[in-house]
């Protein structure tokens, strides 16, 4: 089992009346009204300290995501933090993966720069980079970056193909795309890893995405938005593995990763006492405070997908954010004693056949000392019980850097012909 610590970078000091006064934690939230620059300075610094703490505590990788104009994750370009972590871990001799989860390719207007920056991080880290390529959330790709929703997917496809070629072609090449052009793509540096860093695709369950990942031998990261994994994630992984079987593709669990928020205390009651207010901050003022019209825009979802989406019951408007108890009961987060947490996570890993967990251990207003406590408890009381899972596949993990014990990416990954995520 591979365990990645994922860092979000929230502003941790929003006032109690934030949700009442402001309709969202993205796009329109007023910076000067909300932020003290010294507190923000400390939040950015603490986030990197926390990631370093996780690296020292023995996580297999530390990861970052991309979110612009956001107060729940102040990370307009995760390459910035990843570069800092790559250098700092290198300086300390920590053999830990740097996992970008990643650069949003539906948003990016400079794909060559993405290829070049990631290659730089791969190079300075001596081949410890893992590259995740999500499409990007609507508010970020379409509203912040101004990409017409109906072009998001096409831009993703083209950027993905261009980055793979930029990473793998030995000679400079011309690129005449619909969204970008260059007479000579010749990035410096090329990636340290050969043929290229492990690549994973982040999805929310569209079968076309899982099929694409399987066809190309890419990793697949599932990020579910707000549902019990036993209900939301289970059918997605079931369908992925039966698809793999039909396609004659091995059922190696390291192909699959899922994201999960984890809060560990000495006991279940202790966890609630330690974390409830920070989780509730996260759910009411952070990730949970993004309206639906920021996540779905006309043109961004196919007609078929729209019919499925619109046939579902409409949730009542203005629901209060779930409480800690509701969030735990509904499976939105995994929280409690080490025993509670490891049993739940082991159950997810076994029943979904997932070889990688992407673990969020800082939420909302949680201060650095408490985050470190959560990291330490997870690393000492939970991780050792999860590590042996799927060890029979350790010799064939093509989704992990060679420098960290993985196997090289297969030729199918680097083959750019027909690289289309439809």
């Amino acid at each position: 089992m591979k365990l990645t610590y994922i860092q979000q970078i929230p502003y941790r000091h929003l006032r109690d009346d934030f949700a009442a006064l402001h309709s969202e934690s993205v796009v329109t939230n007023p910076f000067y009204e909300l932020v003290d620059r010294d507190l923000l300075h400390a939040d950015l610094r603490d986030a990197l300290y926390e990631s370093m703490h996780a690296a020292r505590a023995g996580f297999d990788a530390v990861g970052l995501q991309e979110h612009g104009s956001s107060s729940y994750d102040i990370n307009p370009n995760p390459d910035l933090g990843a570069a800092a972590l790559a250098y700092a871990t290198e300086a300390e001799g920590l053999r830990v993966g740097i996992y970008l989860l990643g650069r949003s390719l539906g948003k990016s207007r400079e794909p060559v720069r993405v290829a070049e920056e990631l290659a730089w991080i791969d190079s300075i880290s001596g081949g410890r980079l893992l590259a995740g390529f999500p499409v990007g959330l609507a508010y970020d790709a379409n509203v912040n970056a101004g990409v017409p929703p109906i072009e998001t997917r096409g831009r993703y496809d083209e950027n993905f193909e261009l980055i793979l070629r930029a990473w793998t072609e030995r000679e400079p090449f011309a690129w005449n795309g619909r969204y970008s052009q260059s007479m000579g793509v010749n990035i410096w540096p090329r990636p340290y890893q050969s043929p290229h860093p492990p690549i994973s695709i982040t999805g929310i369950g569209n079968p076309a995405t899982t099929r694409f990942a399987l066809e190309r031998d890419l990793g697949f990261n599932l990020v579910t938005l707000g549902s019990d994994p036993k209900i939301g994630a289970a059918p997605i992984f079931d369908s992925m593995w039966s698809m793999a079987s039909e396609m004659g593709i091995d059922a190696n669990p390291y192909r699959a990763a899922m994201a999960v928020t984890v809060l560990v205390g000495e006991t279940d009651e202790d966890a609630e006492k330690l974390y409830s207010k920070h989780l509730e901050y996260h759910l009411s003022r952070g990730l949970g405070h993004i309206p639906m019209n920021r996540l779905a825009l006309p043109g961004g979802i196919s007609p078929q997908g729209l019919k499925v989406l619109l046939a579902q019951p409409v949730p009542p408007a203005n629901l209060p954010a779930p409480s800690y108890a509701e969030a735990v009961r509904s499976g939105l987060v995994v929280a409690g004693s080490p025993a509670t947490v490891r049993e739940t996570l082991a159950d997810y890993a076994r029943s979904f056949r997932v070889g990688q967990l992407l673990v969020f251990l800082q939420v909302g207003s949680m201060p650095i000392e408490l985050t470190k406590h959560n990291i330490d408890l997870f690393a000492s009381e939970v991780a050792p019980h999860l590590r042996p899972l799927w060890s029979e596949y350790d010799d064939d993990n093509r989704w992990w850097p060679v420098a960290l014990g993985g196997q090289p990416a297969s030729n199918k990954q680097a083959d750019t012909t027909g690289a289309r995520l439809k």
Binding site: N142, V143, G146, V147, P148, P149, I150, E151, G154, R178, P291, M292, N293, L297, P298, G299, G300, I301, S302, P303, L306, K307, L309, L310, A311, A317
Partner: protein, 270 residues
């Protein structure tokens, strides 16, 4: 009235046979081109009245016809869209006909008349998009706001009969879902030419228009402010500009009789 005039669908292959453009065709008399708004082609009383004296040809934006949603991916930008429509009008013998364009369709009509000044005999623009200036900003909230806010954005009085009829969804739940899914998708198709700031440079081309132009705007337009009526007027010399009270973004629905009178006069005057 609707049932008395049969409507047929004509198709024309354009753009190197990559796109089959669909036209809704109905009415009797000389040809009249109608370019639909962002919400797609909807037949209404205004069009049915015009259909008594004209044969209406209403092309559907690629991607908005029920059977070919992905045709939109074959059109990159406004110049390509203009060439596609111009080619289709040529193949159907519609060059020299008058055109009416509403909102998104109004922008498209103005673009066509700017690129090809001889294409239309007359150009009637009803609350057209296409211009955007910093001192009178307008948004694409109609695309991003919750559906419950649409009536207030679209209409001066959303409780009136015609606005309510226009926004009504089918009673059957499955048909309602299909209709709404279709509407959301076709809005996304049009948004390709408006997003993120609805300005593709029309203000720099409008001076090329030589056909007579009629501009009709709803005074209470909460999507594109009616002050843009004068902006069109200033950029197209000789154009006739009318701002109608008690109308929001769709004067052909909310002030149907008056809009019809203005358009009919404009079409019949030599």
């Amino acid at each position: 009235m609707t049932s008395q005039i049969t409507m047929e669908t004509q198709t024309v292959s354009v753009w190197g046979d990559q796109i089959t453009l669909q036209f809704k065709v109905f009415g009797t008399g000389p040809a009249l081109v109608y370019l639909h708004p962002l919400g797609g082609f909807v037949r209404d009383d205004f069009l049915d009245d015009l259909a008594r004296t004209h044969t209406i040809y209403a092309p559907e934006l690629p991607g908005t016809s029920e059977d070919d949603p992905f045709a939109i991916h074959k059109v990159n930008d406004i110049p390509e869209l203009v060439l596609i429509y111009e080619e289709a009008f040529g193949k159907l013998g519609l060059r020299g006909a008058p055109v009416i364009g509403q909102s998104f369709g109004g922008m498209l009509a103005a673009e066509l008349a700017s690129f090809f000044p001889d294409l239309f005999e007359k150009v009637a623009l009803l609350g057209p998009a296409g211009l955007w200036f910093e001192d009178k900003p307008w948004t694409l909230d109609i695309l991003t706001a919750p559906p419950s806010e649409a009536p207030n954005l679209l209409f001066s009085d959303p409780s009136a009969d015609r606005p309510r009829a226009m926004l009504a969804l089918p009673d059957d739940p499955k048909a309602a879902v299909d209709a709404l899914a279709h509407l959301v998708w076709i809005q996304g198709c049009g948004a390709k030419f408006l997003w993120p700031v609805p300005d593709r440079g029309l203000s720099r081309r409008l001076h090329r228009v030589t056909a007579p132009v009629l501009v009709v705007w709803g005074e209470d337009d909460r999507i594109i402010p009616s002050s843009y009526a004068a902006e069109y007027g200033a950029r197209v010399p000789g154009s006739a500009v009318h701002v109608l009270p008690k109308s929001g973004h769709i004067p052909q629905v909310e002030q149907m009789e008056e809009t019809l009178a203005l358009v009919s006069d404009f079409l019949s005057n030599p």
